[in-house]
């Protein structure tokens, strides 16, 4: 069951070769045995999982099952799950039992998927190493002294260690693609508006987008079919039909024009990663794709713009955590101000506090134009770079990160160097485009991620391009020792 694709699991379930109960039990046992080394789960919902599996088995027995019925999934603890703690990696929500389900959770439930638990993450999805979690850092299965990336580090580590066949993530500045790269798995961040944000706890509303981790592009396609789609409860959800992503996986790449952004291949890029990308290019050339150098000149400005926009939105989004209606409340507040200040300071960790402060400043009187509006103008420049590029190429290819996973604790005291690790991913969020990371090699035992960026709502094309590569290579089949 370890190395089976979701398609294979689905077929086995439909053919009654295994039951969902067995499959769920299998993963729950792996979590129990192996997760203490990784800390990838905040909550394991064993009983609910077994109940859901039973229900799935009944549906399978009655022939009422869909393609994902009975398939286990891990949910990032940012998605609200009815009756289950939804902490967002924060002390603030350590006692928050969500009274409702996020739209994507409903979709998965309706499809008969089985939730194994809620995965660890950087607090409120702010971080690139998963070291900002109230529940402790997550370890990279390829080397437990290294970070798994963030903010969806728990989901990435869980999938890499085969504790779940698929897991959700969210990506505001690279939080799916970067941990996918660092953990050697496949991850997709769809176009802004493709996945409902309702019930996904907001970090930066105009950048946040839910997505998935799995072992392969094909697995991603299977699950994205269910996750994607219009939601009337989300004003920023796009009412655009969702194609069956599995239908186009095997389309030919002949004549595909792939863009290589000059700015992604500077001296800052780790040599081994650069070489791995060059090797991948040869694979694609063999498949009939052509390569074209393109310019994304405002890439370097995307990080400063992001570190204004995201904190600004976060400072407002996180104002609701005030100790009044839910979440952490300080002991014996002496007055209203004390209630607010102590509840919030006790509930939020350092990085979240830092970003709230930056964002508050960037929006404050006298600085709004210089910071916030300026950043949103830069954002247009960044988006325009992509718009121009997609006039001459179909897909953009490059590294996901400038370097492989770093050691736990290595960058915690230097926020800026941490921020710079998102250099290749952030621009994609600013423009709202879909992006993927797929495994493309190793350096010193750590995985290398290759990023594919598509035009808006071109997820099918991205998955097709990724799948074509995975048919030619076996990087995505490698698993970390001991898992």
């Amino acid at each position: 069951m370890l190395n089976k694709s979701i398609a294979e699991l689905s077929h086995s379930l439909q053919a009654k070769k295994i039951s969902s109960h067995e499959l769920t039990q299998f993963f729950l046992e792996r979590i129990k045995k192996l997760d203490p080394q990784l800390n990838s789960f905040i909550t394991v919902t064993e009983q609910q999982a077994l109940d859901a599996a039973k229900k799935a088995d009944a549906q399978l027995a009655q022939g009422k099952a869909g393609p994902l019925t009975g398939i286990p999934i891990a949910q990032k603890d940012i998605f609200c799950t009815l009756g289950v703690k939804t902490s967002c990696g924060s002390k603030m929500l350590d006692n928050f039992i969500s009274p409702y389900d996020a739209t994507v959770i409903k979709r998965f439930n309706e499809a008969g998927m089985v939730m194994l638990g809620k995965t660890n993450m950087d607090e409120f999805a702010m971080g690139s190493s998963n070291e900002n979690s109230y529940y402790g850092s997550v370890k990279n299965p390829w080397n437990v002294e290294y970070v798994p990336g963030g903010s969806s580090g728990g989901s990435a580590a869980a999938v890499a260690a085969s504790l779940a066949p698929v897991a959700t993530g969210t990506d505001t500045g690279g939080s799916i693609r970067q941990p996918a790269a660092l953990c050697g798995i496949s991850g997709i961040k769809p176009t802004y508006g493709r996945i409902s944000r309702y019930g996904m706890i907001a970090f930066a509303s105009s950048l946040d987008q839910g997505g998935l981790f799995a072992k392969s592009a094909e697995d991603l396609a299977w699950v994205l079919n269910t996750m994607a789609g219009f939601d009337e409860n989300d004003s920023t959800s796009a009412n655009i039909a969702v194609p069956d992503y599995t239908n186009t996986l095997n389309d030919s790449l002949k004549g595909l024009r792939i863009g290589l952004p000059k700015e992604f291949f500077s001296d800052a890029l780790d040599k081994d990663i650069g070489n791995a990308i060059q090797t991948a290019i040869k694979v694609y050339e063999k498949l009939g794709a052509t390569f074209h150098e393109i310019n994304l000149p405002n890439t370097s400005l995307s990080i400063p713009a992001y570190y204004v926009i995201a904190p600004a939105e976060c400072s407002s989004n996180l104002a609701r955590f005030d100790g009044v209606r839910y979440g952490h409340r300080c002991e014996d507040p002496k007055d209203l101000e004390d209630l607010y200040k102590r509840s919030r300071s006790e509930g939020f960790g350092k990085e979240v506090t830092r970003r709230i402060m930056i964002g508050t400043y960037a929006l404050s009187a006298g600085y709004y134009d210089a910071y916030y509006i300026k950043a949103q103008k830069i954002r247009r420049l960044v988006a325009d770079d992509f718009r121009k590029a997609f006039k001459s190429v179909d897909v953009i290819l490059g590294p996901t990160t400038p370097s492989p996973a770093f050691k736990l604790g290595e960058k915690t005291s230097d926020p800026i160097s941490m921020y710079l690790s998102d250099i290749y991913t952030i621009a994609v969020n600013l423009a709202g485009l879909p992006g993927m990371s797929i495994p493309a090699g190793f350096t010193k035992g750590l995985p290398i991620g290759m990023q594919l960026i598509g035009n808006a709502f071109a997820e099918a094309r991205l998955l097709n391009v990724a799948h074509a590569y995975q048919k030619e290579t076996d990087w995505h089949t490698k698993t970390p020792e001991g898992f």
Partner: protein, 480 residues
């Protein structure tokens, strides 16, 4: 020194939708605390707003009603501040790009002239909840039922020069929003709230003085009192050579005074920015045209029509169109009265309004229906009853004792118009009062009233007054 009063008003009109501006929770007033606050209103983690279509239609209606430009593109922004009745830590409002732009309202002044009051803008926003200050062991209770109720904030230019003008503007606007059916106008329940910006300047100065903002004014009467108080207060300071602090002041209706609100050490910094959970509100010409075609007749048009079609005075027309319900009542009554417009107007603005006021009732729940009142007027006009008897019948109608004709019949109130019957009655009275007849005939003209009184007393007031007068005069004269 002569001072000029400068007043601008900000009105918060609660829009009378079924559901909230960004959620599907009910807006009904008076529910148990927090039973109409859904996850979105409570600002639960992960929830998102979706705009109510009816709110947009209502904003367009107001825009058309105040002759304003309606923005093709407006933007919702977040106003960030912490307060327990504000669950998200920000209020969704409109800041730089409001849905309704510059417009105006014409108000009728006491001297019969009209004055144009500019309206700066009107924007959509969500209401906050309520803090209940009763003591829960030293704590306050928060009810978030009202959180997320749609509001239109309508901001006037500082064009009013007296408390009376401010009231006239408020009443005109109040009537308009009710005509448009976008707000129930209930000031006690807070559906129509008003803040007043008041300043003084020397007569002839072109620069405005420093203003104060008066809050918490929940009736027309209090608006006037609060402004008067504030004007006196500012005048006393200025006359003493003092300076006005720009500040927000609460009106205390019990003490009839304004006092500064406890303010924090530094001014609020609301950090407005476009709400990333909402996209720009786009309104098309077609949408505006559609709303325009469905617009009811507005007070000003109705006023004009009442004067032209019914020949009413400006005063009567103003009173009758002050609410759509009263205007509708009047028109129904006129139709039933055989088009006795002036007489009907008198009855609606006189007897009926007084009775409604006395029992603190709305015209919509009047015990006397418009049809019955019209019929009553008809019976006066066709001489079935006298105006005096009509008042008695009105009382019976009010007490639900039956319909007009039934009451006339049952109580035998029908006016006597038969000349021979009247003549017989006159003869009887003259015969019974020979001395008075003699005195009259010898020149005591004033005794005429005595005979009228006697006749009316005898008949129970049912004689047609004109006929009585004519016949009595004839008898008294002919007999000499």
């Amino acid at each position: 020194m002569e001072w000029e009063i400068v007043i601008g008003l900000e009105v918060h009109a609660q829009l009378s939708t079924q559901s909230k501006i960004f959620s599907g929770a009910s807006t009904a007033f008076g529910a148990e605390p927090n039973t109409q606050a859904c996850a979105i209103d409570l600002g639960f983690p992960g929830v998102l707003p979706v705009l109510n279509a009816e709110v947009v239609n209502m904003a367009i209606k107001l825009g058309l009603g105040i002759n304003a430009e309606i923005a093709k593109r407006s933007v919702f922004a977040r106003k960030n501040y912490f307060y327990p009745d504000l669950p998200k830590g920000y209020q969704i409002s409109q800041f730089e790009l409001p849905v309704v732009g510059k417009g105006y309202l014409d108000i009728l002044l006491d001297d019969g002239t009209t004055k144009r009051i500019g309206i700066t803008r009107a924007h959509l926003e969500e209401d906050a909840g309520k803090s209940l200050h009763e003591d829960f062991n030293g704590m306050s209770g928060i009810d978030l039922n009202r959180a997320g109720t749609p509001l239109l904030e309508i901001v006037s230019e500082p064009d009013m020069r007296s408390a009376k003008e401010a009231i006239a503007y408020l009443k005109t606007l109040h009537s308009l929003v009710r005509y448009l059916g976008i707000c129930d106008g209930n000031m006690q329940e807070g559906s129509f709230r008003c803040d007043a910006n008041v300043s003084l300047r020397r007569k002839g100065d072109s620069k405005f003085g420093t203003r104060t903002e008066l809050k918490n004014i929940n009736s027309f009467r209090f608006v006037e009192r609060a402004i008067m108080y504030e004007v006196e207060r500012q005048m006393a300071i200025l006359e003493d050579g003092g300076k006005i602090n720009q500040e927000t002041r609460l009106y205390d209706s019990a003490k009839n005074e304004t006092r500064p609100m406890r303010s924090k050490e530094e001014a609020n910094d609301y950090r407005y920015f476009p709400d990333p959970d909402l996209l720009p509100l786009l309104i098309t010409e077609e949408q505006i045209a559609k709303v325009r075609s469905e617009l009811p007749e507005l007070p000003q048009q109705k006023h004009q029509r009442f004067k032209e079609v019914y020949g009413l005075s400006a005063y009567d027309a103003t009173v009758l169109v002050s609410s759509r319900a009263m205007a509708d009542y009047f028109e129904t009554a006129v139709a039933a009265s055989g088009n006795q417009a002036k007489l009907t107007a008198n009855w609606v603005t006189g007897e009926l309004s007084a009775a409604l006021n006395k029992s603190d009732m709305e015209i919509t729940s009047s015990p006397v229906s418009a049809e019955e009142l019209g019929k009553l007027v008809l019976r006066i006009a066709d001489n079935t009853i006298s105006g005096k008897i009509a008042k008695t019948i009105f009382e019976s109608l009010w007490n639900k004792e039956g319909d007009v004709d039934h009451i006339i019949e049952k109580q035998g109130l029908k006016q006597v118009t038969d000349s021979s019957a009247i003549e017989a009655l006159i003869e009887k009275i003259l015969a019974a009062n020979p001395q008075q007849v003699a005195d009259y005939r010898s020149g005591k003209d004033k005794l005429f009233g005595f005979f009228v009184g006697q006749a009316m007393k005898e008949s129970g007031g049912k004689l047609n007054p004109k006929q009585l007068n004519d016949l009595l005069k004839e008898k008294l004269t002919s007999g000499s």
